[in-house]
Amino acid sequence: MTVAEVAQTLGLDVLTGHRTVSREVTGGCVSDLLSYVMGTAQAGNLWITIQVHPNIIGVVELLDLAGVVVAHGQTPEEPTIDKAREQGILLLTSKETAFALAGRLYALGVR
């Protein structure tokens, strides 16, 4: 399933990184602890968090994740959006909780 299909099905807002939406989502990771994500997420995974600071973009870049979804109606900080735009990183937002998003993503077959 591609990022675009996931974003459309789950009603995610694509803030930056539009050019990467044809990428395949290889799995998911839900955590607000950056070291946990560093230690467990795999390339191509979609990461769901409520962290909003610019360091989340660095994690996506370093791990070559498909992108990051900022959940529960949290608004990414301006520097976060700027950094994501500069680096072409996929940054999405959702009003749903991380729990609900992860459940729906899992039900779509992203494992």
Partner: protein, 153 residues
């Protein structure tokens, strides 16, 4: 830290303690720099994760520090040395989940007590030494791993 003259990649990055905004920049440069070498992706991935954790530890705990990365053939060495408080009990610091990070660092999702654990899992050789009120030094060596030989990272 003397760079290896035979190395195909050798850089030193200064890291500022408390510089959360810039944190991760050095690791990003390491990823791009080493990415130009014919290194196995699994090796590059482990180096990048460990370098990021080392960088974050300097940002979170130290006044300042440097990270030196060098590559020779398919072997990569990462040395992180800082000027900072040092670690009173290294054995305790290596316990997963143990952390002395500030509330500020924790509120940003750092300080989960997994940094040294991630470094140790990623590296093929891991050495740490520390002197109170002086600083901490971590030395890591990475070599290609055969597929499925170790846990997936």
């Amino acid at each position: 830290m003397t760079p290896d003259p035979e190395a195909s990649f050798a850089r030193t990055y200064p890291i500022l303690g408390g510089g959360f905004f810039l944190a991760g920049r050095a690791s990003g440069e390491v990823k791009r720099g080493l990415g130009e070498l014919p290194l196995p992706p699994e090796l590059l991935r482990r180096v990048v994760i460990a370098t990021y954790e080392a960088e974050m530890n300097i940002v979170i705990h130290a006044i300042s520090g440097e990270i030196s990365v060098s590559a020779r053939d398919a072997c990569v060495t990462v040395i992180a040395a800082d000027r900072g408080p040092g670690i009173p009990n290294i054995e305790q610091a290596l316990v997963p989940g143990y952390s002395t990070a500030s509330d500020k660092a924790r509120s940003l999702g750092f300080g989960a007590g997994m940094g040294l654990t991630n470094m140790r899992r990623c590296a093929d050789e891991f050495r740490i030494s520390s002197e109170l009120e002086r600083g901490t030094r971590v030395e890591m060596h990475f070599r290609p791993r055969s597929p499925g030989a170790k846990e997936k990272l």
